[in-house]
């Protein structure tokens, strides 16, 4: 018989191995699912995970989709470590896109060298402003940030919808709910020739390194780590909970806002109703797979990006609905959470010999 037993200390090996176990379990489930759907699982595996990466353009797309996932994931991981549950990165991303994109529309076709840096700044500020609302409500009114950040996602998306249907709609856009295309100076430069990858991925990787330094080498990063691991110890040490909440939400809002402006000023090139296929939500999984560690998040973002590409590839190559991406993402997180059990617990074989079950003895019976 097997029994769960708490480990003397958490297993460092399992902490790294668990995402791999989860990915493997997801692939096995995928095999079963494809077989059940009457598709050849080997071919499906190829279409999902190999084909998207078999060209320079494909690699470029991988990096392109990694950018928003990595940016959002970095901020969220930082917050989750400090027990601050920002799950509204999607809304902060949208607000970043609105703020930065609005500025791009104001610049019009100007060739100003200021346009792009200011747009990025506005994107960051837009995301931060949107994340400041839950930070204020949590610190001032004790309001749960999970629900507030989520509600603000819907509000941000409706605001964007109003803008592209109303005041910012392109009059020559054949009635599509979208703005003017951004000018050349308002569109990000392509990083790799022959792909759509922009400089956004460079910003994201630099920020990942910065986040690593922040969490490893700064006092603020240490305070947040303690607040997450041992809230009572953090309070005893006099670390301000409110300051941690503000830092966590502002940083995650900033990176999500940057992700938003990088999307609209990059591959999209204008404001429109749909600017993200749920990157902000997928980033929750990214943060978790990356073990809430900035460098781990890079790998998490790459994997999640591949799932998006695989879903698109499966839609085109095997006429499967692209929603399969969401299915795999959810499964992956389930498997990961389950596998994480073995960081703190282990399975132990317990030998139960016959007749060793304690039985009520005669002495007890007499006493009763």
């Amino acid at each position: 018989m097997l029994r769960l037993e708490r480990r003397a200390s958490p297993s460092a090996v399992m902490r790294i191995a668990s995402p791999m176990v989860a990915a493997l379990a997801m692939i096995v489930t995928g095999f079963l699912l494809f077989t059940a759907l009457g598709k050849d699982p080997i071919e499906a595996f190829y279409v999902f995970f190999v084909k998207p990466l078999s060209s320079t353009y494909g690699i470029g797309e991988l990096l392109l989709k990694t950018t928003p996932l990595l940016l959002c994931g970095l901020g969220l991981a930082l917050g989750f470590r400090a027990n601050v549950w920002n799950i509204g990165a999607e809304g902060q991303l949208t607000m970043g896109a609105i703020a930065g994109g609005g500025l791009a529309l104001w610049f019009g076709d100007s060739e100003s060298a200021w346009a792009m840096p200011l747009m990025l700044l506005f994107g960051v500020l837009g995301g931060m402003a949107w994340a400041a609302i839950p930070a204020f409500l949590r610190t001032r009114f004790n309001t749960n940030e999970i629900l507030v950040t989520l509600m603000l996602v819907y509000i941000a998306q409706l605001a964007l919808s109003w803008l592209v249907h109303g005041p910012w709609r392109d009059p020559e856009g054949h009635n599509f709910p979208q703005s003017h295309g951004f000018g050349d100076a308002e569109t990000m430069e392509i990083l790799i020739e022959g792909t759509r990858t922009t400089w956004g991925i460079v910003y994201a990787v630099v920020l990942a390194l910065a986040a690593w330094i922040f969490s490893q080498n700064t006092y603020a990063g240490f305070r947040m780590l303690v607040a997450g691991l041992a809230p009572a110890a953090a309070a005893y040490a006099g670390f301000s909970e409110k300051r941690n909440i503000w830092i966590a939400l502002l940083i995650s809002g900033a990176t999500a806002g940057l992700a938003g402006i990088c999307e609209v000023a990059g591959p999209i090139g204008r404001l429109q109703q749909e600017i993200s296929p749920g990157y902000g939500f997928a980033a929750i999984i990214v943060a978790w797979i990356g073990r809430l560690h900035p460098i781990g998040v890079v790998f998490g973002a790459l994997l999640m990006s591949l799932l998006y590409l695989g879903g698109e590839s499966a839609q085109m190559g095997m006429s499967l609905p692209s929603a399969i991406t969401g299915l795999f993402q959810g499964l992956l997180l389930f498997y990961l959470l389950a596998a994480d059990l073995f960081i703190t617990f282990r399975l132990k074989r317990v030998v139960v010999a016959d007749g060793t079950e304690p039985k009520p003895t005669a002495a007890v019976k007499r006493a009763a």
Partner: protein, 306 residues
């Protein structure tokens, strides 16, 4: 005709899925488990109910399938959080993300297929009474059943022995365990109840309110249901009252159109979400309200060493 009566009537219909979902979550949370996966379970319930009714023509089978689907998902959540001790917040989020993906995948070919809505009941005399008739006696059966459910939950929580055990488990699982109550069983049952009702809530959207399957059709109602539990300070009666208030807020659009208010529809659609935030602020402003009412072990895993 007076526009107030249809507005109230449509508010009641809008509130009904919230009642199912929020009452279920109230029970789940009373047992000390925070399930953030309502949105996902609702969507899966919506697609399962729609598919079942489309295939069989029976609304009863549709709602049964939806309840079963929600229950099945909640069992996954229960297994992970209760048996595998995973973080409840993260697992709930995973459940929602999974449910969104699963429902979109399963419902891919069902999108846009029309289905006739569950008709309102027609009582011979009562329905004809002016004002009172359409206000009280002209809803579909699920509206009345939601009130039956409310009465049952209210009784269960405050009057029954099993309800007392459940509250004990939610307040202090260690003590409940020490006096021989099974924390695990109680929590599993509470989670399953929440799953089944969330499934029914979803099916109400796809079988009655809309009636069709649209990807992501719950549009945050699962999250609003979670907020309602806080708003109702974990008391069934207040949760239901809150649901009706929210139903009213979501139907404000009709009212605005009736009076030709010059507000863009997007802003009107923001109302329920903005109202949720406002309501949460009002309730949570005083930390004592939460401290006194929230089940003490909410969100914490329980691992018996004995």
């Amino acid at each position: 005709m007076n526009p107030i009566v249809p507005m109230i009537a449509s508010s009641v219909v809008a509130a009904t899925p919230l009642i199912y979902a929020a009452l279920g979550e109230t029970i789940t949370e009373k047992a000390g488990v925070l399930n953030l996966g309502i949105e996902g379970m609702m969507l899966v319930g919506a697609v399962a109910g729609f598919a079942a009714t489309l295939a069989t023509g029976s609304d009863l089978l549709g709602f049964t399938a939806a309840a079963a689907a929600g229950l099945a998902l909640s069992l996954v959540f229960g297994f992970l959080t209760l048996s595998m001790q995973t973080n409840q917040v993260a697992t709930g989020l995973a459940l929602t993300l999974f449910g969104v993906g699963l429902s979109a995948f399963v419902g891919h070919d069902l999108a846009g297929v029309p289905l006739s809505a569950l008709p309102p009941i027609d009582l011979p005399v009562l329905t004809q009474i002016p004002i009172v008739g359409p206000l009280l006696f002209h809803y579909d059966i699920m509206v009345y059943l939601s009130l039956v459910l409310f009465a049952a939950v209210q009784w269960f929580v405050s009057k029954s022995h099993a309800g007392l055990t459940m509250r004990a488990v939610g307040e202090s699982p260690g003590v409940a365990h020490a006096i021989g109550k099974s924390v695990l069983t109680t929590r599993y049952l509470a989670v399953m109840f929440g799953g089944a009702t969330a499934g029914i809530a979803g099916a109400y959207l796809s079988l009655v309110q809309t009636p069709m399957w649209v990807e992501g059709m719950s549009a945050g109602k699962g999250w609003i249901a979670l907020a309602l539990v806080v708003f109702g300070t974990w008391k069934p009666a207040r949760v239901v009252l809150g649901a009706y208030l929210f139903g009213g807020v979501t139907q404000f659009q009709l009212f605005a159109q009736g009076f030709n208010l010059p507000i863009p529809t997007e802003f009107l659609s923001m109302l329920p979400y903005a109202a949720t935030v406002v309501v949460l602020v009002i309730i949570c402003r005083d930390p004592k309200t939460i401290l006194l009412n929230q089940p003490a072990s909410l969100g914490r895993s329980f691992h018996s060493t004995a």
